[in-house]
Symmetry: C2
Subunit: 344 residues, 2 copies
């Protein structure tokens, strides 16, 4: 194990960023100066940032550092995708306590780099310093898009179709599983965690993906969403954002919510309501968007693969409220519970 | 005092960012979506980020929250100025422990907003979350410049003049003063700190400014620096960066180093070597840059005001090393001591 003090700040940065090669022509100047320089030409520049703190956003008891790095990058890349844009650059700031060795931080960084490779994103800057306690990760992601391609949260119109990608609630159930097994392991350190058959849920929690593929598929299909965001706090919370900002209401159908069977089985096993998990469980990083009813024909081919798009409802006048129509036909008002469930 | 939990994340963000009005036409979409949208047209986009952690970068025993916010913004704005560019947007992420009330965070944010007003910068995004302990501030600053105006660290050429703005070592001495009085006050809480006549040094430490004025003056004077950076870790350290990246050496003259008289008096009083403070004391956020010898005539008018520019030496061939010529004529090799002095 190498102490970080042996390398110093500049030595550590050099070790982490030495072999980075840019993927994007827009990356004119990367790490090594006071600022990175980007050349977006006629496109728009998009910027988003996220702060991740140990003990609040992640628990290193069950999250491997490489996964943590991957997820920290993906969460930001997902925000750029949620604007219907292409992620291009990333800045990574780390606050590191004495508990971490150089190898630990390389492990974390290798996850960040893996995500950047996967999504064609260049690491162009950041800041590295010591911290008093715990690990702090602050990531800023830059993206680009043509002005006309960008999708905000405020464009949903009456009769638009409400779509989500992939499935919902799996990441939340993955977290419940990790928590359960952590407690079991504390009581019996000799045992092995009961993860068999639930690998997919773990992956959804530990190694989420950003839906850049959907951004590209929508473009190819010539579908321009009217409103879009990614689902980090839970479907209900995000739908309410779109409805509030667009000045509309919504009706989503319980039986249309895409739910993975592993998630349904675990919810049953843990005595959790799977629909509540799908509505309020966060961190799925799927895309939620609305499209004009006239694009119905175009979107149908994208609903064939269950990992692609599901149509879950439609936008209504604001006065009809934000509703879920349950299987039995009763109407339930959607509420934001992301914050209370601790998915911030 | 209002507990942050009473407002929740969105309530707090709303309260902090409610009345922000953009200054820059490049700010197309600010806070309220997955990412901010910037329109830089034919200009280049510059990005820099800094992470500030309580107990490492600041001590709230003697740094008022409003000053801390101001400085956190200025440090990043300074990095954009150091590229010879214009700062335009800022993203602010805060990790907040239970110790802080809503009013505390408003105080911090008011300092950030004040700096943004002063420098014409728009706050366009960020992230706010709770932390286990202490305050975490992560700021990303965006700027713009024409491609040809951008100045990197690697362009210094033999015979170029080495210039610095303002004076050096004052911020470091301000910190020594605060530390000294903190210890005195601990021993005698009834006393008052001995700050009289030293307000300027405190201001340099607590409320530094970015030298955007110099960027503008250089532009007006039609001077295009060959290399530039801001002095955050100390003159020696930064000069070494420029020399290494440009593949050159340097000679700076001890008697040309701009030193404020209050700083000199306090150094004497505290038995510190003022030249060492000027060379290695960090956080002055002045600009260090090199200009072609042929621009000598143009720069002279900018050296009349002592707060503007001082010519402190010249660039040499790499084989002559990185030297300071002392008053007595002896040559001293410059060393980077920023890290060891704890100015990171």
């Amino acid at each position: 194990m190498t102490q970080i003090s042996q390398l110093g700040e500049f030595g550590l940065i050099h070790r982490l960023t030495d072999k980075l090669k840019p993927h994007n022509v827009s990356t004119e100047k990367s790490i090594g100066d006071d600022a990175a320089v980007l050349s977006m030409h006629n496109k728009r520049t998009l910027v988003t940032t996220d702060l991740l703190l140990e003990g609040i956003h992640f628990n290193l008891e069950y999250v491997p550092l490489k996964h943590l790095g991957y997820k920290a990058a993906v969460v930001n890349i997902s925000d750029i995708c949620a604007m219907n844009a292409t992620p291009t650059q990333l800045l990574v700031s780390l606050g590191i306590s004495k508990r971490f060795s150089v190898e630990n931080i390389e492990e974390l960084y290798s996850g960040i780099r893996l995500a950047c490779e996967r999504y064609g994103v260049d690491i162009v800057g950041g800041d590295t310093c010591s911290s008093m306690t715990g690990l702090t990760i602050s990531i800023t992601c830059i993206g680009e898009a043509k002005k006309g391609d960008i999708v905000y949260r405020n464009g949903a119109k009456e009769n638009d179709l409400i779509c989500v990608t992939g499935n919902l609630g799996s990441a939340y159930l993955g977290l419940q599983l990790l928590e359960r097994e952590r407690i079991v392991m504390q009581a019996n350190p000799e045992g092995t965690p009961a993860f068999e058959g639930k690998e997919y849920l773990l992956q959804r929690q530990l190694k989420p993906e950003a839906r850049l593929d959907i951004v590209e598929k929508l473009r190819k299909a010539d579908i321009h969403p009217t409103a879009m965001m990614d689902i980090s706090d839970g479907l209900s919370s995000e739908l309410l954002h779109i409805c509030t900002q667009s000045g509309v209401g919504c009706a989503v159908y319980e039986d249309k919510l895409p739910i993975d069977y592993e998630a349904a089985v675990l919810a049953e096993e843990m005595n959790l309501n799977i629909v509540t998990c799908a509505l309020n469980g966060g961190e799925d990083y799927e895309l939620l968007f609305t499209i004009p009813l006239s694009d119905y024909e175009k979107v149908i081919p994208l609903t064939f693969d269950k990992d692609d798009i599901s149509i879950i409802g439609h936008i209504t006048k604001a006065e009809y409220g934000t509703r879920m129509i349950a299987r039995g036909g009763e109407e339930i008002t959607l509420r934001a519970q992301g914050w209370d469930m601790g998915n911030n």
